[in-house]
Symmetry: C2
Subunit: 153 residues, 2 copies
């Protein structure tokens, strides 16, 4: 994977992408391994290199509401590490063994202090990503809204 294939890193220069790569740590992940849990402090975000990671949120003790299954190289997750108050809002579990890049929030903040353009590009890409997720989630909400309406009328 080239780092610039990650949706957060689009439009970065080669130099900026290589600086990001320098602060990232490549780690193996095993099937069923938890990368983080909803409510944990978010100190790290991840870029998937290979394998698959499932994101979900707990509806109650019994039900997990699936949010996304990431299996495309370059997918970023753990994005709560980029947004105050830095608390994971979903859980992430490895669905298929592989590898991830870990990037520590503190290390990224150091890069951004020296290069605000890098920060502006990453945060613009993040906003676009969250905007799309929000649109998709609202679309799901509309489907449920219609189903509930049909069931109750």
């Amino acid at each position: 994977m080239h780092f610039k294939s990650c949706h957060l890193f689009q439009e970065l220069s080669e130099l900026q992408a290589s600086r990001l790569l320098e602060i990232s740590i490549r780690m193996p992940i095993e099937k069923d391994q938890w990368l983080f849990r909803e409510g944990d402090e978010a100190g790290v975000f991840y870029v998937l290199e290979k394998g698959a990671v499932e994101l979900f949120t707990l509806v109650n003790d019994k039900f997990e509401l699936p949010i996304a299954m990431l299996n495309i190289s370059g997918s970023a997750f753990g994005l709560a590490a980029l947004v105050q108050p830095f608390t994971y809002n979903v859980s992430a579990r490895c669905a298929e063994a592989g590898e991830v890049f870990e990037i520590e929030r503190i290390a990224l903040e150091g890069l951004v202090r020296d290069d605000h353009q890098l920060g502006c590009t990453i945060m613009s890409n993040l906003a676009r990503h969250l905007f799309n997720r929000l649109r998709e989630t609202r679309r799901e909400l509309k489907v449920h809204f219609k189903s509930l309406f049909l069931l109750t009328h």
Copy 2:
């Protein structure tokens, strides 16, 4: 309203806030006036000065799904003007006459070219805002999910 009370402009310097004010246009809004419609090209974003604005999305020809009722001075909306591909994903209609500040995307892009730190701050604030909206929307989805489960089991 001081511009820095707007959630998008938090942590800007006084100078940065005054530059933003310079490119903004104060406009009156009348009850029932449409500010923009879902699907329109997003060339402008807004900061509410006074009055109230309702955001909603259409489920079908008959039903509007309410997204938010904005009535706090400093509330920003039309945020699609800050995110590619710059298309409004909700509609906005004035619920109570008042005033808004309009900021053109093109004018803001000009400011950001000269001051990447300003861009980084605004986009970080936007990402935090979208992240919170996403969390709230997922919470609604969980409520619908539980209701549907109870109705069908």
